[in-house]
């Protein structure tokens, strides 16, 4: 292939008149795909307290606590500061108690604010 002078120039000039590809994020938000792995959501009514999710979670971000002595009722504490959003809990759960929502703006000023309790 022969060498040419400034072969990139036509592409650069063309791009000069196109609108920017970057999105001005906090003002404009892009839609995430429907299978996006956002924040973990827990449904306490379905939980049977088998603790498979607690054992499988790679980040140790899930605590399942029994609420009442007599009834089989459980609450879940999600340590979202530790969660790595892998969705293994969604796969592991035998009763489909978990799903992931599309929330991705989870920043907080303190890691304690990221703790979510599902009762």
């Amino acid at each position: 292939m022969s060498l040419r002078i400034a072969p990139f120039l036509p592409e650069l000039l063309r791009s000069l008149f196109k609108k920017p590809v970057t999105v001005k994020y906090p003002f404009e938000k892009e839609a995430v795909p429907k299978d996006f792995r956002g924040t973990v959501v827990f449904d306490p009514a379905k939980c049977i307290g088998c603790n498979i999710c607690v054992n499988d979670c790679p980040a140790e971000a899930i605590d399942i606590i029994r609420v009442s002595e007599t009834e089989k009722k459980f609450k879940m504490i999600l340590h979202n500061d530790r969660c790595i959003h892998c969705a293994q809990c969604v796969d592991s759960c035998p009763t489909k108690t978990y799903h992931m929502d599309l929330e991705y703006e989870t920043a907080a000023f303190s890691r304690w604010d990221l703790k979510i309790e599902y009762k």
Binding site: L3, R4, V21, D35, F36, R37, P58, C86, Q88, D91
Partner: protein, 401 residues
């Protein structure tokens, strides 16, 4: 007159913490020595305390760019230990993600090479096009970087008809852009002039120093795990190993662009021949005592995991050899007789992932000038001894908060 100059560990030319000690004769490097261990994370030790399922996500975090490489290497090793035959559709999807990852990694590398060579607009354009493949990966897996697609016995998510069409559509754009970059890189005189002849690694040296990946293939050796020891479904895919004979940084760029083009053909083949059926099979939780050595061709070169199981649900030992570590001896050989100004370019040409390659702790004794490798228990006893010597009463340190 000879000078000794130290570069790094924190240096704008090197993206991660690595220290390079050089003996210079004017501007020419006569001798070089690499010091590693600045970003050691103890992943192998951590893996021994976690179950196999947890370890998939741990190995994924060894590297941010080739995250799928490490999980696939680990997963196929454990599958062999479990004597599990993964679902065929799952293997196809696994290979598809692997090739998409190779595309995104090589586009990233092209940008980095452009930036190191002083061709900044090239960097911006390749990274803009890399967004296309990142969007595809996000669409399939739900995340841009850590895809978390592997599970023992297949993959975690299926690909539907709509996703298949979208990937094929986006592929046309990527193909067009890659052809353009191939022509551009070969016809831009400044770019070619900057890369040609830099970082020479002869064919004999590449074999002797055990280089891997595009670094090895750019020295004219057609060695690729995908061809030599096919895993997943690579045995069925028609493709040729990309090589170059120029033995320099330009050759490594050409190999990567050729691999991009062959990756597009592979993705098309995989999508068109995607078999019907389940995408995963059920896997046991416990693994019989055995050991396995798993190989995988990551975008940077051959990736090796050694896994030893002991009958429980946790591995007894996991040893990871990332491709960057295998390329370090070759890098030293490339640096010798080169100029200081070529260091970032030569380093970038092996596509270094320094954090992935850190595997042991080596201590330097500054007074004696020797270095030792210490085990974890030795380190702990050293720390305890040091703590005993400190007289806390004398120092009167108050907690500042």
């Amino acid at each position: 007159m000879e000078y000794k100059v130290s570069l790094g560990p924190q240096h704008p030319a090197l993206h991660e913490a690595v220290s390079l000690r050089m003996t210079l004769d004017g501007e020419v490097i006569r001798d070089a020595d690499l010091k590693l261990g600045y970003s050691h994370r103890g992943i192998e030790k951590l893996a021994e305390e976690r179950s196999y399922i947890q370890n998939i996500y741990l190995t994924e975090r060894i590297c941010g760019i080739c995250s799928h490489s490490h999980t696939t290497c680990f997963t196929q090793g454990v599958e062999q230990l479990m004597e599990l035959v993964p679902a065929r559709r799952g293997l196809f999807i696994r290979t598809l993600i692997a090739e998409l990852e190779r595309v995104h990694s090589h586009l990233l590398w092209l940008g980095v090479a452009g930036q190191e060579a002083g061709f900044e607009s090239f960097f911006m354009y390749t990274w803009r096009d890399r967004e296309v493949v990142l969007d595809i990966l996000e669409w399939i897996s739900g995340n841009r970087v850590h895809y978390a697609m592997n599970i023992f016995g297949g993959v975690r998510r299926d690909i539907d008809e709509l996703q298949r069409k979208k990937i094929l559509d986006s592929l046309d754009l990527l193909k067009k852009r890659t052809d353009y970059y191939l022509n551009l890189a070969a016809s831009e005189p400044t770019f070619v002039g900057r890369l040609a002849g830099v970082g020479k690694l002869s064919r004999e040296d590449a074999i002797a120093l055990c280089a891997v990946g595009p670094t090895l293939r750019a020295s004219g050796i057609a060695s690729d795990v995908r061809k030599d020891d096919p895993y997943a479904v690579y045995g069925e895919i028609p493709f040729e190993v990309a090589t170059a004979d120029s033995c320099d940084v330009l050759g490594r760029a050409v190999v990567r662009v050729k691999e991009l083009i062959s990756s597009y053909a592979m993705i098309e083949f995989l999508l068109k021949n995607l078999p019907e059926g389940p995408f995963k099979v059920k896997a046991p939780r416990k693994v019989k005592p055995n050991e396995v050595y798993s190989r995988y061709e990551a975008p940077r070169g051959e990736n090796v995991h050694y896994i030893k199981s002991n009958g429980s649900d946790k591995p007894e030992r996991l040893k990871v050899r990332a491709p960057t570590l295998a390329n370090y001896p070759a890098t030293i050989a490339m640096l010798k007789k080169g100029f200081i100004a070529d260091i970032p370019l030569i380093f970038a040409a092996i596509d270094p992932c320094i954090c992935c390659a850190e595997r042991l702790v080596q201590l330097d004794d500054a007074r004696r000038g020797d270095s030792r490798v210490l085990s974890f228990s030795q380190l702990r006893s050293m720390a305890n001894e040091r703590a005993k010597k400190i007289d806390f009463k004398k120092r009167k340190i108050a907690w500042p908060f």
